[in-house]
């Protein structure tokens, strides 16, 4: 972010738009326009990506002896499916698993906090979130 401000100041100084108390007689290194645009584009893309929440189950909460609550945050206009598996399979190609849908949450038009529930019948279960798009 610091470099962005440096670029902005350089651009303003170049055009004589810096406030009088920030001007300097020292020569200013000016970055080519293409580079500036590329930097701004990259920052814009990062901001867009950063706004989307990374799919993350952040809390498993035993509700009672029979139920467990699975908490996660949802972005607007993204569909979330909670999947589970009871075991992983080690093969020559690596570790795989057969995932089963527990719940598919429809696409909401606003950010949301969602709590799925599952029975505690299995000895152990592993969960993951499938997010579209």
């Amino acid at each position: 972010m610091k470099s962005v401000w440096l670029h902005a100041f350089a651009f303003m100084a170049e055009n004589g738009k810096l406030p009088w108390n920030m001007r300097s007689d020292r020569p200013v290194r000016c970055t080519p326009l293409k580079v500036r645009l590329a930097v701004l584009g990259a920052i814009f893309a990062l901001v867009v990506i950063a706004r989307a929440t990374v799919p993350h189950i952040y809390l498993f909460e035993p509700i009672n002896p029979n139920l467990v609550a699975i908490h996660f945050e949802m972005d607007a206009f993204r569909s979330y499916t909670v999947q589970y598996t009871s075991s992983f399979i080690v093969t020559s190609n690596g570790i795989t698993a057969v995932w089963t849908d527990l719940e598919t949450v429809p696409t909401f038009p606003f950010n949301n906090h969602w709590v799925s529930t599952d029975t505690r019948s299995a000895t152990a279960r592993f969960y993951r979130l499938k997010v579209v798009p």
Partner: protein
């Protein structure tokens, strides 16, 4: 000779999903022709509200599956009334409620949908009218009326009980305070009655000068805890506007009014705390026509279009409202 014929209407002042605007229908019946002559009146009034705009905290949401939820609410009021004299009258409001809906609800696991119809007798109201001030002349008239009454828990409130039971069950799973709404149409919206004894109060001012007319109404609905201790929020509204008689002859009149309505509903109380998806402040504007034929018959028809609706939480809010009625004086 032309009698100072004057329709005084609260028809623009319809309430939200929970109530049936008891005073509107009663006053339609009671006050046609000034509500001044002794005798009986019977009226039939209809209020239709289409709830299909989904809003979250005052903002309309972009298109999504939530748009599939809707509520069409129709309330037909039969209002027999008796004026004991020029100043005092008594009215009974007998509403028949019909609600067609589709909604979503939280299930375990996921979201389920429900659609159907709820219909039956609503909550009866008994309303008294006192004309506090009355001035009539050849060219105009001015009335101030005071209204007070009680709404009785005669309508089926099973849906309210279901709302409370669902909230309690979800509280046990997720803890109190969690937001459980997955639809703008809630169980409390589907009820025919609230299960509560409520107070109904109103003040109206009506004036006419030659072909011009203007009226203003204030209504307050004082709610008390009802079914399963669920308490609908208090509601007050201010409505009225100017109008002009397009035809004003002996035995026939037709006027056109511009009505504005300001309607404020407090949030409901469920299990001792505020229901997060209730409470609304709305402003409506719309035209209304009022007709009288002879000394006995009157009719009105109007539509309300929302100018601004600020709601709390996730709710389906009205996209338009239609109201009308006919009245016969014996």
């Amino acid at each position: 000779m032309f009698r100072p014929t004057y329709l005084i209407l609260l028809a623009g002042a319809l309430t939200g999903k929970s109530s049936a605007c008891d005073l509107c229908a009663v006053y339609n019946a009671d006050t046609a022709n000034g509500g001044a002559a002794a005798g009986a009146t019977i009226s039939l009034a209809e209020q239709f509200i289409r709830y299909d705009t989904v809003q979250l905290d005052g903002h309309e949401l972009p298109a999504s599956f939530l748009d599939e939820a809707f509520l069409d609410s129709s309330t037909t009021h039969l209002v027999p009334a008796w004026n004991f004299g020029e100043r005092f009258g008594l009215s009974l409001n007998v509403p028949y409620v019909l609600k067609r809906f589709e909604r979503f609800e939280l299930t375990n696991p996921g979201i389920g949908s429900e659609s159907g119809t709820e219909s039956g007798l609503g909550d009866l109201s008994l309303i008294t009218r006192l004309t506090a001030y009355r001035l009539t002349g050849e060219n105009g008239s001015f009335f101030i009326n005071l209204l007070a009454g009680v709404k009785m828990p005669t309508g089926n409130a099973d849906r309210v009980a279901e709302e409370v039971a669902t909230t309690r069950a979800l509280d046990e799973i997720y803890g109190p305070g969690h937001q459980h709404a997955v639809s703008g149409v809630h169980l409390r919206d589907l009820t025919l009655g609230s299960g509560s004894w409520d107070g109904v109060f109103g003040v109206t001012a009506n004036s006419r000068w030659r072909r011009l007319l203007c009226n203003a109404q204030f209504q307050y609905y004082l709610r008390t805890p009802g079914e399963s201790d669920y308490e609908y929020g208090d509601e007050w509204m201010l409505s009225g506007g100017p109008g002009v008689f397009l035809f004003l002859r002996d035995g026939f009149s037709l006027n056109l009014q511009a009505l504005a309505v300001y309607d404020h509903m407090q949030p409901d109380i469920v299990l001792g705390r505020e229901n997060q998806n209730t409470g609304m402040t709305a402003i409506y504007l719309g035209p209304q026509v009022n007709l009288t034929l002879g000394q006995s018959f009157s009719a009105n028809l109007g539509v309300d279009l929302p100018v601004e609706i600020d709601n709390q939480g996730l709710q389906n809010v009205p996209s338009w409202r239609l109201h009308g009625g006919i009245s016969w004086r014996f």
